[in-house]
């Protein structure tokens, strides 16, 4: 494996983005477009008694109103992961905000007015709005255990027994949720910002009882994915059905307020952690049980404890999960879906334990390193967490820290706190296919599995192609997220780079071999385009497919059928994880107690860094999101009414630029020697993991207050 660092390159789509030229799904112009608006349920549970649409249909411009009568019965559930068919329109109401009708009109204004004029009455039923509601149903998930956590904790010199709370939080990318469906010439084409174009193709076909072979899905560029757009969303089949019934293209862009009830969200979770260490400062046992809010039929697992099992060399472990089933829309993935809340809780508990032992929080973590996967004893493909911690400590100036809480002050009298925490995320991979075509006319086209949503996957692929092949960079077209170009796989879980960068490297290798064979020893100067022209070949194509370690042809078949084809982090011969260490300074005002975060140092071990610029960007974004999760964001439920109350960008408080100080990012950069040919692991998720804990640990260092519920707000420090 070559280990030369990749050079810094500009983002491949930067010029388009700054000019506003990047086309998102809702920007695709289609002639004859109709506009749609959903009608949300105002009750939290029950059944539609009457649905009056006459007033709405009389609004000038309204073309049709779809109701539950316009949909086939739901399909049989399927067994493979990631393939649940979301409901379409139903008479039974499972949560407030559930769509009960769709108004389609010639203009957005008419659709909006029509939706306001649809009148429904409901037979209501009692509902559970939160985990603590009387009607919440408790359901235990299968625990994970190794060693003997009970015995280890009983023998520990020092233990902490603490509970942490992470609130419900909602994705709020600027790109609203949208679907455009076109039914023409016997084919259904769906334009949607999604992380899983082939998933939509298969699942929408199943819901509407049509052949997936006639469905094409295009996700040209996604404006913020992070799990919100990983599953097939609720509106997609509804809009597709409208387009098929009307024979005209239909577009829905949901208002911001509706997203809070239509989209997946991070569920409220509670983390009860008992953690013990021996006199030498070795962590010996952990008992970790997390519970979360869950919808009545949701499948997002409560397995929060899984990540921290591999963070340190703890040999005795019990991890359990619980669902509280209530009447909400299904919760789901939101950046570092389990690892962020888990490492917030766990890494705060580690800090509490280090303080109890009188140990430095950095040294304490370093002393608890592991070389093997504690779950199964397999070797780790690569692990540089200790280097992340020591390099981060040095960059941050950790040695100047005085450990006593409240002992450091800024010039203006603010309390200063320095906190640290680690993060971990599995290195995962999917099967991929790719086609690389280089033409004599100067163009290059690379089509492959996976999606671009700003994380920089095209830039990473481009780096490999441009490093390995002499081609015209300006005429390089990388096509992603398009089922007509390549079978698509869900792009999530930080597996994009691991999956597709080695595929690009393989395509480069094959292309070089093919060119060399064609030239048959002739010396032709210039780029590949000129070489092809010289030997009168209009173009040259190579097709490749690639599996992750341990995957077989069945994974490729699942990929081709739009099914889940993901492997890791436990591979046949090793376990692969990415790591990060975050160092945070907070300043807490002495009077009104505003919390500021002037600086952060984050050092990540994600294997080899393919695209330095977008990688730094990923980490900064992760830290910003962790700041939001720790100090700003919560979706609030009034249990008397159900649903989410603060459903706009004024009241769902995300960070603003003025909130964010300097974020200094560094990478270990050591290629992973075994995971794949390029030496990459994953970065997008681990970037966020642990940063919230570092912030809360810093607040403790500043104030002496252990705050165990997020978000931490000004009133908690008064």
């Amino acid at each position: 494996m070559t280990t030369t660092p990749f050079k810094d390159r500009p983002r491949i789509d930067a010029f388009d983005k700054v000019r506003g030229a990047t086309a998102y799904a809702a920007d695709i112009p289609v002639p004859g477009m109709l506009y749609a608006m959903l009608v949300p349920s105002v009750v939290a549970k029950g059944r539609i008694a009457t649905l009056q649409v006459e007033d709405a249909i009389n609004v000038p411009g309204v073309v049709r109103i779809l109701t539950p009568d316009d949909f086939p019965p739901p399909p049989e559930p399927v067994r493979f992961p990631n393939a649940d068919a979301p409901p379409t329109l139903h008479r039974d109401i499972a949560f407030r905000g559930q769509p009960i009708a769709l108004v389609v009109a010639e203009t957005l204004e008419a659709a909006t007015e029509g939706a306001e004029r649809v009148a429904a009455t409901f037979e209501t039923q009692p509902f559970a709005a939160t985990k603590r509601s009387a009607l919440a149903v408790r359901e235990e998930a299968r625990p994970t255990a190794f060693g003997d956590a009970g015995a280890a904790l009983a023998q520990a010199t020092m233990t902490v027994d603490v509970e942490y709370e992470s609130p419900a939080q909602h994705h709020n990318p600027i790109e609203l949720i949208s679907t455009t469906a076109v039914w023409a010439d016997g084919r259904l084409t769906i334009y949607e910002g999604t992380q899983f174009a082939s998933g939509i193709k298969e699942v929408v076909a199943r819901i509407l009882r049509i052949d997936p072979g006639i469905v094409d899905v295009k996700s040209p560029s996604v404006g913020g994915a992070f799990g919100q757009k990983g599953w097939v969303q609720q509106q997609t089949a509804i809009i597709a059905r409208a387009a098929m019934l009307l024979g005209r293209p239909v577009k829905l862009v949901t208002p911001r307020g509706q997203i809070f009830h239509l989209a997946k969200f991070r569920p409220n979770s509670t983390h009860h952690i008992k953690l013990g260490a021996d006199a030498a400062g070795k962590m010996t046992g952990v008992h970790y049980v997390a519970d979360q809010q869950q919808s009545r039929r949701g499948t997002f697992p409560p397995d929060y404890h899984a990540g921290p099992t591999r963070l340190y060399g703890i040999r005795n472990y019990y991890g359990g999960g619980l669902d509280y089933r209530i009447d909400t829309q299904p919760p789901g993935h939101m950046r570092a879906p389990h690892e962020h809340p888990a490492c917030f809780a766990f890494e705060c508990a580690v800090d509490e334990l280090a303080y109890s032992l009188g140990a430095d929080p950095v040294d304490f973590r370093i002393a608890n390193d592991t070389r093997v996967d504690p779950q199964n004893g397999r070797p780790l493909s690569s692990r540089h967490l200790n280097e992340c911690l020591s390099r981060g400590a040095q960059r941050f100036g950790w040695s100047k820290r005085t450990p006593k809480p409240g002992s450091m002050r800024a010039a203006d009298g603010s309390l200063v706190g320095w906190g640290v925490a680690s993060g971990i995320y599995p290195a995962l991979v999917t099967a991929t296919v790719a086609t690389l075509r280089i033409s004599a006319d100067g163009t290059t086209r690379f089509t492959t599995t996976h999606h671009e949503f700003g994380q920089g996957i095209k830039t990473a692929i481009g780096a490999v192609l441009l490093d390995g092949l002499e081609i015209d960079a300006a005429k390089l077209d990388i096509v992603l997220g398009d089922t007509t170009a390549a079978p698509q796989q869900i792009t999530a879980g930080s597996w994009g780079t691991f999956s597709v960068v080695p595929t690009a490297a393989l395509a480069v290798e094959r292309m070089r071999a093919a060119i060399s064979e064609l030239l048959a020893g002739r010396q032709v100067s210039g780029a590949i385009h000129q070489q092809l022209a010289a030997i009168r070949r209009p173009f040259l194509t190579v097709e490749v497919s690639l599996l992750g370690p341990g995957q077989d042809a069945a994974a490729l078949e699942r990929l081709r059928r739009g099914q889940y084809a993901v492997a890791g982090p436990t591979f046949p011969d090793f376990t692969a994880m990415s790591y990060i260490a975050h160092f945070v300074e907070v300043q807490v005002e002495s009077t009104t107690r505003r919390i500021r975060m002037p600086r952060v140092v984050s050092v990540a071990d994600c294997g080899r860094v393919v695209s330095p610029r977008t990688a730094v960007s990923q980490v900064r974004g992760g830290v910003v999101w962790a700041f939001g999760a720790a100090l700003r964001e919560v979706t609030e439920v009034d249990p008397r009414f159900g649903g989410f109350l603060n459903n706009d960008l004024a009241d769902y408080v995300v960070p603003v630029n003025a909130d964010i100080g300097e974020i200094d990012v560094d990478f270990i950069g050591e290629p992973d020697p075994v995971a794949n040919s390029v030496g990459v692991k994953g970065l997008g998720e681990v970037a966020m993991v642990g940063a919230s804990a570092a912030i809360v640990n810093a607040i403790f260092h500043a104030t002496g207050k252990r705050l165990r519920e997020l978000p931490v707000r000004i009133e908690h420090l008064l």
Partner: protein, 334 residues
């Protein structure tokens, strides 16, 4: 969105005439930064919009004589960015700078800003009538009382409503004893800014004292040396682009370290822009110390009636006043 008529008169008299002619369901609109928002939420459903942004001469900033005069159509950003205001009346400038975003400040007018409606989440979640709200539907009840009331008022509340008056600019104006000029069907009149706002009482749907068809044409602020020793201190859930949890507009007249005159008004904590005369009285004639400043802050909240989640506002509000007093007094020691 419901259809509505739309006209753009060119003079104040035409605007007032057009309003009278339009009859039921007429609304003046200036920057549109509140009204359009509320129309999308189906809380406002005007049948006729009378756009006053084309009215000539209504955007002047004048400083002759013994008062400042801001035409109602002056953009928030224009007044905020005026160097004389920034130097001699930082309380006015800061109240505008710390509100909204640059884009909104470029659109919103200083007159329209006075009529901004509450951000109470239960009020704004109007569509579909899920949450009862006496402001939206008189007599339907108040979901905020006994609900998620972290953002609600602790001063000036009633059994019918605890919604916060959301503005920053009106708070600064109330501190500075400003007045508004109003033109209506019966001619023009002027009134103190403070008198524009009603307490909710048992009629929280009645928010302003303007009569039907009356339009704010200007804001006047008496000139005072206290303007120099002034500040608008705003504490919120993030560093910018958020409404106040607590805010204090403070202007002082000092003789050395002794307070000769004090004007204090509060935002984020009350159902209308709140003049805190109890706090002012604590200060007058005394040396300004951090202890006295805190005592003044606490006096302002003596009659506070917190709900379930907003009791922190009394302590935070008192400390906000304390800091504001120290900042304002510090401007005399250059």
């Amino acid at each position: 969105m419901r259809p509505f008529t739309y006209i753009r008169p060119a003079t104040p008299q035409e605007a007032v005439g057009a309003f009278a002619e339009a009859g039921e369901g007429a609304r003046f609109i200036a920057g549109g930064t509140t009204l359009y928002d509320l129309m999308k939420l189906t809380i406002e459903r005007p049948a006729h919009l009378i756009d006053v942004t084309a009215v000539r001469g209504l955007d002047r900033i004048e400083m002759d004589g013994d008062r400042l005069r801001f035409g109602a159509n002056a953009a928030m950003s224009a007044v905020a960015g005026d160097p004389t205001i920034g130097r001699d009346y930082p309380v006015l400038s800061e109240a505008l700078w710390k509100a909204a975003s640059q884009q909104l400040r470029n659109m919103a007018t200083v007159g329209g800003n006075l009529l901004q409606r509450t951000r109470c989440m239960y009020f704004r979640n109007g569509g579909g009538g899920i949450y009862p709200c006496n402001k939206r539907e008189p007599g339907s009840g108040c979901a905020a009382i006994g609900g998620l009331d972290r953002g609600q008022a602790v001063l000036g509340t009633s059994e019918a409503c605890t919604a916060v008056s959301p503005g920053d600019w009106p708070v600064a104006l109330v501190a500075m004893d400003a007045s508004i000029e109003v033109l209506g069907p019966a001619g023009s009149r002027s009134l103190p800014v403070g008198d524009l706002y009603r307490l909710p009482g048992d009629t929280p749907h009645l928010e302003f004292t303007l009569g039907p068809g009356e339009m704010i044409t200007a804001i006047t602020v008496p000139k005072t040396p206290a303007g120099r020793l002034s500040t608008y201190h705003k504490i919120r859930d993030r560093e910018s682009y958020a409404f106040a949890l607590t805010s204090a507009a403070v202007a002082l007249e000092m003789s050395g370290d002794r307070v000769e005159g004090a004007r204090i008004a509060l935002g984020g904590v009350a159902t209308r822009p709140w003049r805190a005369s109890e706090a002012e009285e604590v200060l007058i004639g005394h040396l300004l110390t951090p202890e006295l400043a805190l005592a003044a802050g606490q006096a302002a909240f003596r009659d506070a009636r917190p709900g379930r989640h907003n009791s922190f506002k009394t302590e935070l509000g008192a400390r906000t006043i304390t800091d504001a007093l120290i900042i304002a007094a510090g401007r005399g020691r250059t």
